[in-house]
């Protein structure tokens, strides 16, 4: 009766991290409970139906789950919760999708009333064909994804045992010369391959690309990789050429500018979802080759139409990669049913502890608005308020002070509003990358940044995703997309790549005090705080005065110098 776990009646699990059995407990509950918050002392896991079904898909049964809860729980576990766990888990696998030698794809059941129940649903009826026998019904092969999605919504998730097509074989090997997959990456690849399809959750900077490469090397088949944007596509290509036996010629890019289809093709979500005259002209990409593996980068950003296409691709192996399963649109269940259950995840802090991602010092700088700014803020239109407080002149001064403070270190200044960024760029004498910057120019600047030719780069939200800036050690966020949590996670990810010199990473968020900027910041930071990245809060005045900011000893009396603006 002295376990590290407290089971709450709202199905959250509180794990006391400092408890001697905490690690054992974490390992046992991780398969079925989602880590929701991981601050310093007590981690919160949540038991959700999806989590339980994930566990079932991974071969765990209800008895194991219940035993784990009962064994590690400090207090008696509410019976209702145990019953609920058992009942929820028992719902998975009553229905299975299998390949029938004579009838093709069939839905069969071990529990006839369940089959009767789902067949009575209007949503299922158009997806199924003739009844083969009382326990089996034919499913139209084209509706394999649809029916899985529908059944999940009905609360009877089907286990998909219908197998996968091998796809067109293509030789892909990992070129492990002087480097190797990290243990957790290897586990992720194995977990995925063993499960067939599914999602691997790894924090930013933990090397998701390599997990993709590892999966491709396992599949040894033609692969379609879907990424968020062109820059990201280039990086994937770069990385694949470097890490695998693939050559440049074997990798095609299918984007707005280029339409190459090669054994390994990297396409952007944007080009796939381009709609012309009511149709998606680039959909044929999915059928253009007999793909053996489809990789979805940043699954949490997967646009809705891609879900629809994915529903038709259920016979192909699918790997989803993401830093967080949190979707701001709440479509986690579609990810579960169409791409697959979560096959692997590792908490952020755990990987940090293993030294694969850099520790970060997160600081929120609270900026006081000047009196005139406050008055202007108070009278601003509601929709303009955020823009106003996010782009105040005071923020610029603080940003400049911070850049000066970390002079010589690779520093990114990230923001939302172009004019603010332009102004900052002018003041900091740094190049600005924004939406209109051409890809060639972007890559040139990124290369320069990588090599250290330039040490300060001002980027708009185009750089949010998948750009790889290995040497950035300082990120300064001046404004963001309102309260987007996953944007915050992505931005922090920019500085978490391990540093060659073992430098600590710094992540600064400059926030206007007593405005909605502060509220949004609180919302954004909650996610990171829950990941264990607690923010310190400092006052801009202290910072500008070179005050008691712990890592700020090295500078700088010139902070007092007033810029000539305003």
């Amino acid at each position: 009766m002295n376990g590290p776990l407290i089971v709450q009646s709202d199905k959250t699990l509180l794990l006391e991290v400092d408890h001697e059995r905490a690690d054992a407990c974490r390992r046992v509950i991780a398969p079925f409970a989602e880590l929701e918050r991981a601050p310093e002392h007590i981690h919160t896991y949540r038991i959700t139906p999806l989590g339980l079904w994930n566990a079932r898909a991974a071969g765990h049964d209800a008895e194991q789950v219940v035993d784990a809860l009962v064994e590690f729980s400090r207090y008696p576990v509410p019976h209702a919760l145990l019953v609920d766990v058992a009942e929820t888990m028992a719902r998975y696998g009553r229905l299975t999708l299998t390949k029938h030698p004579a009838h093709g794809l069939v839905l069969s059941t071990t529990d006839r009333p369940v089959l009767e129940e789902v067949l009575r649903s209007k949503k299922v009826q158009p997806l199924v064909g003739a009844r083969v026998d009382p326990d089996t019904v034919v499913v139209h092969p084209s509706e394999r994804g649809q029916i899985k999605q529908t059944l999940l919504k009905l609360g009877w998730p089907a286990e998909d045992l219908a197998g996968y097509v091998d796809g067109e074989a293509h030789r892909i090997e990992l070129a492990e010369d002087g480097w190797a997959l990290r243990p957790y990456q290897r586990q992720a690849v194995e977990g995925f391959w063993h499960g067939g399809s599914g999602v691997v959750v790894l924090p930013c900077g933990a090397g998701k690309t390599l997990v993709g490469a590892g999966a491709m090397a396992q599949a040894k088949a033609t692969t379609l990789i879907l990424v968020t944007n062109t820059v990201s596509a280039r990086q994937w290509k770069h990385e694949l050429v470097k890490r695998t036996s693939l050559t440049e010629d074997e990798i095609g890019e299918y984007s707005g500018t280029r339409k190459e289809i090669r054994p390994v093709t990297i396409a952007t979500y944007q080009v796939l979802t381009t709609k012309r005259k009511g149709v998606y002209p680039h959909l044929e990409l999915f059928d253009s080759r007999d793909w053996g593996l489809i990789v979805y980068d940043e699954v949490h950003l997967l646009p809705a139409p891609v879900f629809k296409f994915t529903a038709d691709l259920q016979a192909r192996r699918r790997l989803g990669l993401t830093a967080t399963l949190v979707r701001e649109d709440g479509r986690e269940s579609d990810v579960f049913s169409l791409i697959g259950p979560k096959r692997f995840d590792a908490p952020w802090k755990e990987i940090e502890a293993q030294g694969y991602i850099a520790p970060a010092d997160c600081v929120e700088v609270r900026v006081d608005l000047t009196e005139s700014e406050r008055l202007a803020y108070a009278t601003a239109e509601t929709e303009e308020k955020y823009r106003f407080c996010a782009t105040t002149a005071t923020k610029r001064r603080v940003t400049e002070a911070l850049v000066r403070k970390f002079a010589g270190q690779q520093t990114l200044v990230i923001g939302q509003y172009i004019d603010q960024l332009d102004e900052l760029g002018a003041h900091l004498d740094a190049p600005v990358i924004k939406g209109e910057t051409s890809n060639a120019q972007r890559e040139k600047l990124f290369d320069a940044f990588r090599t250290g030719e330039i040490s300060v780069l001002v980027v708009s939200k185009v750089a949010n995703f998948s750009i790889d800036l290995p040497e950035a050690t300082v990120a300064i966020q001046v404004s963001g997309t309102f309260g987007s949590r996953q944007e915050e996670a992505q931005r922090l990810g920019r500085v978490l790549r391990p540093k060659a010199d073992g430098h600590q990473a710094h992540f600064y968020s400059v926030v206007a005090r007593d405005t909605i900027d502060q509220d949004f910041a609180a919302h954004r930071q909650r996610f990171l705080a829950e990941q264990g990245y607690a923010y310190r809060i400092v006052d801009a005045s202290d910072l500008l005065a070179g005050g008691p900011e712990p890592s700020g000893r090295d500078d700088s009396p010139e902070a007092a110098s007033e810029p000539d603006a305003s």
């Binding site: 959250t12 310093e40 008696p76 509410p78 909650r526 705080a529 607690a534």
Partner: protein, 907 residues
Amino acid sequence: MPGGRSDTAAHLPGDRSGTAAHLPGGTGGRGGAAAPRTLAEALRARGDKGLAALLRARPDLLVPVPGDMTQLATRAGTRASVVRALERLDRFALQTAEALAVAPDPAPYAVLRALLAGDDGDPEVAGALPAALEVLREQALVWGDDDRLRLVRTARELLVPSPQHPSPTGLGPTVAEATAGMSPGRLQEILAEAGLPNTHDPVSAVAALTGLFTDRVRMAALLDSAPAGALEVLDRLVWGPPYGEVTADPTPPVRWLRDRGLLLPVSARTVVLPREAALHLRAGRAHRTPEPLAPEVVPAHEHRPQVVDSAAAGQAYTALTTVEDLLREWHEGGPAVLRAGGLAVRDLRRTAAVLDVPEATAAFWLELAYGAGLLASDGEADERYAPTPAYDAWLELPAAERWARLADAWLVATRTSGLVGGQDAKGRTLAALGPDLDRGAAPEVRARVLALLAGLPAGASPDPESLLARLRWERPLRGGAPAGAPGTGADLRARLARWTLAEAELLGVTGRGALATHGRALLDRVRDGSPVPGPAPDSGPVSGSGPGSGAGAAPGPGAGSSGGAGSSPGAGSGAGADHGPGSGPGSLGSPAALLSPLLPEPVDHVLLQADLTAVAPGPLERPLAETLAVLADVESKGGATVYRFTPGSVRRALDAGRAASDLHAFLAAHSRTPVPQPLSYLIDDVARRHGHLRVGAAAAYVRCDDDALLGEILADRRSAALRLRRLAPTVLAAQTDPATLLDGLRSLGYAPAAESAEGDVLITRADAHRTPPRAAPAPVPDGPPLPDDTLLGAAVRAIRAGDLAATVPRKEPAAAEPARTPGGLPRTSAAETLATVQAAALTGSAVWIGYVNAEGTASQRVIAPVRVEGGFVTAYDHTADEVRTYPLHRVTGVSELADPDDPDDSA
């Protein structure tokens, strides 16, 4: 009563026959000890214990206490009492009674045994029969010794098969009954067809036929000769219903059967299989499936007892927090009481949402709190629900004690939350906490279910269906639903049992379906017959102190005894022979003491985290929990509590009068971990802005650009009455109205000017004072106003009519001169009044009445009755010149007018 001892002692048939054999001889010397001829005699012959057992099993016989044995026997034979007793029999005892009802009266033991065990003699049945018979005897449903067993006549009437009430045995009437109206000639024909010699009279004919049917050998021979199809016909009727339809021209097999009396006519188209024939075909069995043994309750799962206990304790703790949450939610007054009583559906839904449970569960918690006297209506004009003072006392108890109070209240409650949301017989929805939720059977079923659970090995949870089957066996007649429809929910006992299982789980009496150790102890307390030792002494003050809580507290001691009484027949019916009243009371210790170590210990610290949460890794000590509940929002509850600090919650704490430094100190003192920087920052940040703007009320102000002047005013002692306060260098606020302030300042020698709301100086002018619009007063002349013609005409008519009434010569009634009162009111008897008025209504003539109005003033009137009905007479009143209705009972008397024309003449 020494003779009676043999009656109760003689259980076994062998022993019994011995006793019966020498009863007439051995103890025959005493008159009362001979074989009893009536129930009263049989009762008289019983020992005190036997009588006590009867009265315990049938407590209704005691109200009022019968005067003598005859009275007791009569009362025991009344239909209501017998029905009640039959309903409380278990299935086999009932089957025994049913068998006796189809047996000859009186029946020897052997006949009864044959009816139940069949010709081949089922040993299980034969073994269980003596006990069943003993139950029937004890309850005075059966009397007489073993060779002359008699079922009490009322019971026989209730159980004997008749066309209207087919017996569960499916047997029809006897040959004698079925041939009652048959012609002697027809009887002789049947005898002839059946191969029997003719007899002289119908009685012997019936006897001969009965003899044939009951003789297995001859009957078998007769049936062997039956034509093809005849046996199939019999097969259809043999297990009942024994009645069949026949056509006017029956098929040969039916005709063959009918000719031999194997089917006897009931009406033109209906035939019946006589009882004797059916019994032959059934190999003597009265029931297709005698159920001598109670069905076992089958364990569905076995858990380790520790697991069960801990799961139950977890749930018990949840129960406590839920009830506390509920009552805290209603702390400042809960929802309104419906006019018909109870809680509105909307409020129930809201409560369910607050507690995060389904509505049915919310109803359970509500009823539980209500039943435990923690919650009641406040009895105010606009009635609301609110916690009772007993709740505050309850809160002070240790957790295990609190649970025991709830569990005790639940165990004996007759209110059933399971009914909430259903409809009563009139189609009205039953509201939680509302009326009509009491079900008398509930405590008994609850106790039985728990007793059956206790009968399983520790840690075993029952298969609910087997449990229900057992309950049905124990009380087959209660609930009214046929046994063929189990689980449909129609059967109240089954529903009660299901609810009991669910509620026991919710309350933590059971864990994972199995009875926990503390649940077992709880049951022992009830079983000991002294129900609810815990709250019983306290429940008096509870009901006294809280207005309207009487209903809630009443089930405590009152229903407790009924629960105890209810469970004892169950124990008597052989199901729980192990727990007579003698089994050691409290052998397991009190439930609270057993539960206590399993409940989480209160903790005195929290863990603070940088994501602005605090986790209390266990139940917090109350003062700490209360402070924290103000300072932070509760995010998740359970064994631990997760609090989240938000600017709003911190502001709430500051509003509650705490300073930022207090909060820092509080957190530092109670946190096991360092206070995270963002949390300190949050508190400081909120505190920095807290109270930045100040709001207050002032009745008037003084402003002046010269702050020295204001200082002068403040310093002046005479200004104290104005209650001035300096808000700013140039502003004073006053608590007096502007006019008083102006006067006051003037009296101090200043020359203030009044200011309007917009800040303009008000010009003081002698404003005329005006009333609101008023009408001019009406002149009041010295005399009455002159009447106009209409008025005059009316007045004249009225006077004439009154005069007519007073003076008109009237016919004296035929009877003696009615007593004339001084007022001159006519006096007639009520009957006469009615007759006269009715006659007048018929003829349309006017009559003269004396009438006393509601104030008791007497008057005389001349009326022309139009209608007389319902004790009222509607008439045209000449005196008032309108149609009026008079209650006849106010009419003192009536006289006919001498002549319709007279009034005109006299005028």
